[in-house]
Symmetry: C2
Amino acid sequence: MENLILLPSAEVALRIGRLRDAARAAGRGGALLIADNAMLYYLTGRVYSGWAYIPVDATRKPIWFVRRPVELAGEDVVEVRKPEEIPSRLEAMGQPLPEAIGLEADTLPYSTVTRLQAVFPDAGFYSASPLVAAARAVKTPMEISMMERSGVIHTAVYRRIPSLFSPGMTDFELDVAIEHVSRLEGCLGQFRIAGKSMESFMGNVLAGENADTPSPYDFALGGKGMSPSLPVGSSGEELKPGTTVSVDVNGDYTGYMTDMTRVFSYGEIPAEAKDAHECSLAIHREFRRMAVPGTKASDLYEMAARIAREAGFERYFMGHRQKAAFCGHGVGIEINETPVIAPRSRDMLQEGNAIAMEPKFVIPHVGAVGIENTYIITPSGARCITNAPEEIIPLV
Amino acid sequence: MENLILLPSAEVALRIGRLRDAARAAGRGGALLIADNAMLYYLTGRVYSGWAYIPVDATRKPIWFVRRPVELAGEDVVEVRKPEEIPSRLEAMGQPLPEAIGLEADTLPYSTVTRLQAVFPDAGFYSASPLVAAARAVKTPMEISMMERSGVIHTAVYRRIPSLFSPGMTDFELDVAIEHVSRLEGCLGQFRIAGKSMESFMGNVLAGENADTPSPYDFALGGKGMSPSLPVGSSGEELKPGTTVSVDVNGDYTGYMTDMTRVFSYGEIPAEAKDAHECSLAIHREFRRMAVPGTKASDLYEMAARIAREAGFERYFMGHRQKAAFCGHGVGIEINETPVIAPRSRDMLQEGNAIAMEPKFVIPHVGAVGIENTYIITPSGARCITNAPEEIIPLV
């Protein structure tokens, strides 16, 4: 038998405490019944099939209901086959049934939520999704150290990119070569995204004209992709001299992802592309200084948009034919966490936020420029954990 | 401007016809509002961000509401920014508002469904998920031809597996080598799974003892994986002589997946493993004959379980420490379609079903044996579209 919980008990207590604090701050009581894989991983250090029952009242114990895998054990671990068994198990353990039940409404399928609601017919229902987002937005020291480890390997992989290129390659071939090195270095491959609407394989390699192709997904940039069934990223076109290659590939080496973009040039590229890249670096410099606890996310977006506008690159900022509505986002277990750096974001920065900042520009016929770094928010500013060289790097 | 719809119009009509037939057979009226990526791809040949509005009444036209990408056009294509704009657009086009609205309750998040319900406050609501599953269970000739193309490339990749092996490799290294060849041959990488609970990167390479490690996911077999954040598949252990390697990796080369497992041996393996593999082949032979339109899916499961039992391999059938509850499943755009070959399945086979049949055995300390093929159901039996050699193939 193996223990269900893989995290140190103080770490579990810290994370559950954050979730309870978020619930109390939102005026929520009763219990949270967590079922989404990402959140089960957050609470226990492993993905399992089952439910984590977390009473908001800290005098009551969390209970771990496990459906699969078999052979897991531990304190307050209860094996069940289906969620309908939960109420009688709670009663057998002397726990009162909750007067209100919080469920992950933004991520679980409708049928799953209505089934869990029916398990507690007398309980009021509320969405746990805002509480989950609030708790996970502030990383614990252990989470930050896992992100730092991802950042170190992610950086080592990016340093090898020029050696993977040879003239005559397509963007897809370079993409696959980068994926291959990433996997050999231990990248888990999985690109965890909350919700159903965004899809990606291992990230985005955008070369030349293809960087300007609008995509359906809510990523910062697009690309045509290799098939209309996954219309994003590299498109199979041969890389052409005079263009850029923007590499934004999977940094999930530990279950916690870093998000990083770097730009490579093939042959001589126009001064306009170099200038726009410098503009992105200037935005990052200002971000490092300004992104302290208490700063409004919307102010960070306005700062980026203002620097882009003053440099004359407004029409290329965050896309050209199609623009993204944000230039940064929270990152951790999933790629789309909070806070969101966007014009109408109501998020306020907190110490321990992990933010991928990605002010980018699409220069028509040339490609995308501008970098993305993952930062940890500290009282003295944003600390970068993706420390690969930031300038445009020649492929040959 | 590019046309939203990438399929021939007769193909779109055929697919919409199947969806309407399924709705009428279930006594459903009004309209379906489709939002899931897999189903938008089915109806149009591309993934986009938006909604497909399909009146069940065939005298009314489908309308394609597009949010992103920009620059798509076509007949009855309407650009919208949010779903709340849909009713006024329908009225402007002379369409009555639906008296009932079908939404994909099993795949869309709870919040998405409740938001779409609120868009049509006067309409009754029903789950479109059973209708979607029924329509997609029977593949069109065009879909079958896309699956056949995936099967041909998938097979070519599997033939190269022995050449990728060298002694001293770990299961993960062989896994990454197979992924790399798959990607170079055009595998899209994406492993599309309906619902939220199952996760996989590019499938499953299971070697030796690790094949017996229980996993949380609802796949046929398990494995420890490289991280508790994705606990399935290869585990990083060195491959050992006297064991098997079961390869079940991504066959998505066209937007339509084939699903195939083959077994490789490293050194001499016990007779018991070879005999169990032969038992799997016997089940497949019987499946090819028996799987005609009208056959009950549960009878196919019983046939497989009976052959396994009579051969003395019941305790290894579909897993050993943990067992899967099925031995076959529908496949197409997603890996978990209908019909399901399981003891309590109420599915009945139809001409044009695509079924991945995977009678497998886990032999403790040796590994997994038994193959998986993707079949198309025809009046004269199941036609295999994953025609790689079926015997256990020595790696060296």
